[in-house]
């Protein structure tokens, strides 16, 4: 365990990623304090370039871009994290059942997983939101519905490999019940790849949420990074910062999560890191 933290925190990429993430999370948590006004409220004339009064300028309606960015962090992170949690919960359940019970149950569940992996997932998310109508809740649903298959595959693969190990057979021979074996013997040993995949999934969820918001399918009346880019794209020629700034925010946040996720992976599977 000590070795894990050494390897994890000794990695400069992880430190950079964690630092940026800490800042984004802080801003998201205290957006109301840092920028008390409604981010949709008009504070000045439109199209002020980034300057002393408005660090990141104002948009086409005269709204403060910095305030939008702070509140957007909250929306984007919340939706991404909840969507990931839902996807991980569902994916783990399906993967664990498929891997542990095998046979026909496995066949049916994996066909289903393959099906959801085959269909164009982003398009499916669009259709889903179009049908359900855009809202934060429906975004979470749509993103998690298209994100769970990889989790299922990882968990199933791990469960299959752990299950074939002799300590699980020893538990069967000892007479332990299936549910207890799954919970005490199998799942604890699948945790590390699950944590890695889950953390990387947050990054994907942010990208999907931003793309949906960019297309105008985001949560209405809630500022988000994708929405800001979508709103600013018509003014690309004259007000470049409207698109550039939130885009960089997305890029850096996704990058930071990927760095931390990979650091986790390297720290949990040191064999690969030595390559």
């Amino acid at each position: 365990m000590k070795l894990f933290w050494q390897r994890f925190l000794g990695n400069p990429r992880v430190i950079i990623g964690l630092a940026w993430l800490a800042m984004v999370v802080f801003v998201a948590l205290f957006a109301n304090v840092l920028a008390p006004r409604d981010p949709f409220s008009i504070v000045a004339v439109p199209f002020i370039r980034p300057s002393g009064a408005y660090w990141l300028g104002t948009d086409s309606l005269g709204r403060d871009v910095l305030a939008g960015l702070m509140h957007g962090a909250r929306t984007t992170l919340l939706i991404a994290v909840f969507a990931t949690l839902a996807a991980v919960a569902f994916g783990t359940l399906v993967g664990a059942i498929a891997g542990y019970y095998g046979g026909n149950i496995d066949d049916v569940l994996m066909r289903l997983t393959e099906f959801f992996q085959t269909i164009p997932s982003f398009l499916f998310a669009i259709v889903l939101i179009a049908v359900l109508s855009p809202s934060a809740m429906n975004l979470v649903i749509a993103i998690s519905v298209v994100s769970w298959p990889p989790i299922t595959r990882v968990v199933r693969g791990e469960v299959l490999s752990v299950k074939s190990r002799e300590f699980v057979q020893a538990a069967i021979v000892a007479g332990q019940r299936d549910s207890a074996i799954l919970l005490t013997q199998v799942l604890p040993n699948t945790l590390s790849p699950l944590i890695v995949t889950g953390s990387l999934l947050v990054a994907t969820a942010i990208l999907v949420e931003s793309a949906l918001s960019f297309l105008g399918l985001g949560a209405p009346n809630q500022m988000s990074w994708g929405f800001m880019i979508g709103a600013g794209r018509s003014f690309l020629r004259d007000a470049w910062w409207l698109v550039t700034v939130p885009g960089i925010a997305i890029l850096l946040t996704v990058l930071a999560i990927n760095l931390v996720g990979e650091g986790l992976n390297d720290a949990l599977n040191p064999r690969l890191a030595d390559l």
Binding site: A130, V131, R233
Partner: protein, 327 residues
């Protein structure tokens, strides 16, 4: 393996695609059930646009007063004869609209697939050859940044730089319609329009393939058969080109198949950024016209495309990996 074995494999794989297609149809039907209003109004595009007679006709055709499974059966039957309905928003049959938009999307997909696979594989190969040197780090950093970049944003940034500031490439569309180019000039024109959307869409995937190829190369290089090859007196270059490369390529091929669905999804964003007249843009338009019939038609066609591409990938895989043949 003889040609007949391959043919029988393809037939079997084709049969396996039937449940997937059926699944998509059922999913479409379920989505329609989820939408507010009955099947006919939803299909016709809810806020008007369709004449009352058409809605009544639809109601009758799906058997609105029949139980759900009968409705599903009717819906299935219609789709299976490729009767995708009529879009009143666009005043054209859905199938006709889709086929018109299919070409541009396939063009964009094709170039993206080729560009991202070629560059990604080469980048991954080079990074693995230069492992732990500054060149490897440079490639890895580039890949991880590309991997984190939102498609729609990089598209807009490319427009900002290459179209607006530098004025090198066109901002949108597939060709300059007022120029009435013909022959080679038209090909060049379309090519120029194709550059930015392809680059935009390729970035994420080439990063993905580069990372996978690097990891796969490094993994293969640690395997026993490489030691055997070394003990035979082969040069490192011969070991890479004859032995490691082909083995390392297999997971990339698999991944390219898996990712095709997401590539199509990405085209919605990219096509709407670049006003590329393909299926993605049509999806974007139908989304805001609340033209569900058209939207679901696009979804259905895209899923069919993915299934076909996966089939092709599987066949390529069989040709690359002799172990599959015995099963």
């Amino acid at each position: 393996m003889g040609g007949t074995a391959l043919a029988s494999y393809i037939v079997r794989r084709l049969l396996q695609t039937i449940p997937v297609i059926l699944g998509v149809v059922i999913l479409n039907f379920l989505l329609l059930q989820l939408a507010p209003g009955d099947l006919a109004t939803v299909l016709a595009g809810e806020a008007g646009g369709a004449p009352k007679e058409y809605i009544d006709q639809l109601r009758q055709r799906f058997g609105q007063d029949q139980p759900v499974h009968v409705q599903l059966f009717n819906y299935l039957r219609n789709l299976l004869v490729l009767d995708l309905g009529y879009s009143f928003r666009q005043s054209a049959p859905v199938l006709e609209l889709l086929l018109k938009r299919l070409g541009p999307t396939l063009l964009l997909m094709g170039t993206t697939l080729v560009v991202s696979l070629l560059i990604g594989v080469v980048m991954g190969l080079l990074a693995a050859l230069w492992v732990k040197t500054w060149k490897d780090h440079l490639i890895s950093v580039a890949a991880i940044i590309f991997y984190a970049t939102p498609l729609f944003w990089i598209g807009l940034m490319l427009i900002l730089v290459f179209s607006i500031k530098l004025d090198w490439l066109p901002t949108s569309g597939m060709e300059d319609v007022v120029a009435f180019n013909e022959g080679f000039a038209r090909v060049v024109d379309i090519g120029r329009h194709l550059v930015l959307p392809t680059v935009t869409l390729s970035m994420f995937y080439l990063a993905l393939y580069a990372r996978l190829m690097r990891a796969s190369m490094l993994e293969q290089r640690g395997l026993d058969y490489v030691t055997t090859a070394r003990a035979k007196g082969l040069t490192e270059r011969q070991i890479i080109t004859r032995h490691v490369f082909r083995n390392a390529l297999l997971p990339v091929v698999t991944m390219a198949g898996i990712q095709f669905g997401s590539l199509l999804g990405g085209s919605v964003v990219v096509e709407s950024v670049f006003a590329w007249p393909g299926l993605g843009q049509l999806a974007y338009q139908s989304l805001f016209a609340r033209d569900f019939n058209l939207l679901l038609g696009i979804f259905f066609l895209s899923a069919c495309l993915v299934v076909i591409v996966n089939l092709v990938v599987d066949v390529i895989y069989v040709l690359l990996d002799p172990r599959i043949r015995v099963g």
